[in-house]
């Protein structure tokens, strides 16, 4: 355990390193509602602070905070008495406050549409690697895989997304459903 005099600066480093990623992880799972994402992100870091001194430094910081983040989002839905699969809901916008804000970025809607045709695990890979910018080693730690396995899965998910994207937007007459069937 770090000495208390260093603990605060360690925690600040930890906060700086993980803040964006934790926020985005939550944001994509609360239907892109900024206000809700900020509330939940605050809760997550507050929980991390309470347990930071007893945290085992041999474990991965990234895997630790992402586990807290996942559990806090699950609890958020449980508190609202909603049975929601948070991986299934990731990147979905239907019937939510965040939609209007997100629609300002019209072309990103294409990406969201293509992403919705991926399997939840593929979507998670794309999110962790290409949107969150995690290293393969970190992804492996978060998902309990080797870095090599994470790399191969991320490449395959990206390849599938590219094909879906091409089918959806390079051939205008093909509907999203037809494109999804192809893949």
């Amino acid at each position: 355990m770090a000495m208390p005099s260093n603990l605060k600066s360690d925690f600040k480093d930890f906060y700086d390193q993980h803040f964006d990623r934790v926020y985005r992880f939550v944001y994509f799972r609360v239907r892109m509602n900024r206000e809700v994402a900020e509330d939940i992100t605050s809760d997550i870091f507050m929980k991390a602070l309470k347990h930071f001194a007893s945290y085992d430094p041999k474990q991965s910081h990234t895997a630790w905070i992402m586990t807290i983040a996942r559990n806090t989002v699950i609890n958020h839905y449980r508190d609202q008495k909603q049975a929601t699969d948070i991986d299934e809901i990731a990147f979905k916008l239907e019937g939510v406050d965040g939609r209007e804000e997100f629609l300002k970025h019209g072309d990103v809607m294409e990406l969201q549409e293509a992403m919705s045709h991926l399997q939840p695990s593929e979507r998670e890979m794309i999110e962790l690697k290409y949107i969150q910018g995690f290293r393969y080693k970190e992804i492996g730690e978060i998902l309990g895989k080797t870095a090599g396995a994470a790399r191969i899965e991320a490449h395959r998910a990206m390849k599938k997304l590219k094909e879906l994207f091409k089918d959806l937007y390079d051939v205008p007459r093909k509907t999203a459903k037809e494109a999804a069937k192809v893949n």
Binding site: M3, Y27, T41, S42, H105, E110, Q132
Partner: protein, 240 residues
């Protein structure tokens, strides 16, 4: 707009507000002080300046060694210092070509470390992962839409040489780590590099891959390599 650009755009558009980040830190900071009251080391206050000056003096010399030496590998006392310096360098602002050059250099460094470890008969599994990671970052930066073939070529040449060294490194293993080779192979094939650039890199992976990997159904997706006429390499019957 390309998929890569849309992903970048999504990354940017979903950035948290900096105001929120600052406000949350202020709240956490005050909560932290009540959760963990600080210990007071009064003697340390007096010694702080000379200690800091000494630390800077020592760190500068030691840091240069740590940064440059392939002998500083995982488990070495200075390894975390080396990683820290590399992390700082990787954060410096740069364009795609400078980033590609940086990661190609880092790949070379990981290979040099792997060679040292191989001489010490320590299986450098984590080094192989480090090499693959740097290769991935190099290729990703190289494939940037802003770069033309002329700018990419010197880095491709450098990568090609590193791939040869990588092959030699793999030969030190009793059993070739196929997963590591497959990773590099898929990474090159799935990249947005031009076909001839992919060929240049895959040719160098060829001797290990061809002897140790037999194509499976999954490999059906791998691209066939069309060699130029002046490149005479013996391909296995199945091809890559």
């Amino acid at each position: 707009m390309s998929l890569e650009r849309q992903l970048k755009k999504l990354q940017k558009s979903t950035k948290p507000e900096r105001e929120f980040e600052r406000a949350l830190w202020l709240k956490l900071s005050s909560e932290f002080d009540s959760e963990y009251p600080a210990l007071r080391f009064t003697w340390l206050r007096f010694a702080a300046f000379p200690l800091a000056a000494f630390a800077v003096f020592v760190t500068m010399g030691v840091g240069t060694y740590a940064y440059a030496s392939p002998y500083v590998t995982e488990g070495h006392l200075l390894h975390s210092m080396k990683l820290g310096m590399e992390r700082v360098e990787s954060q410096l602002p740069r364009g795609p070509i400078a980033s590609a050059e940086f990661h190609a250099r880092m790949m070379e460094r990981r290979i040099a470390e792997g060679e040292v470890l191989a001489r010490q008969e320590r299986v450098p599994a984590f080094t192989l992962d480090g090499i693959a990671n740097e290769m991935d970052l190099t290729v990703t930066n190289l494939a940037s839409e802003e770069l033309d073939a002329e700018h990419r070529r010197p880095v491709i040449d450098h990568l090609q040489m590193q791939t040869v060294r990588y092959n030699y490194l793999l030969q030190g293993y009793e059993e070739v780590p196929l997963e590591a080779v497959m990773e590099l192979r898929l990474m090159i094939q799935d990249s947005a590099l031009a076909t001839n650039e992919k060929q240049l890199l895959l040719i160098e992976l060829h001797p290990v891959v061809i002897n140790e990997l037999s194509p499976t159904e999954e490999d059906g997706e791998l691209i066939p390599i069309q060699f130029e006429e002046d490149i005479s390499l013996e391909l296995a019957p199945q091809g890559i």
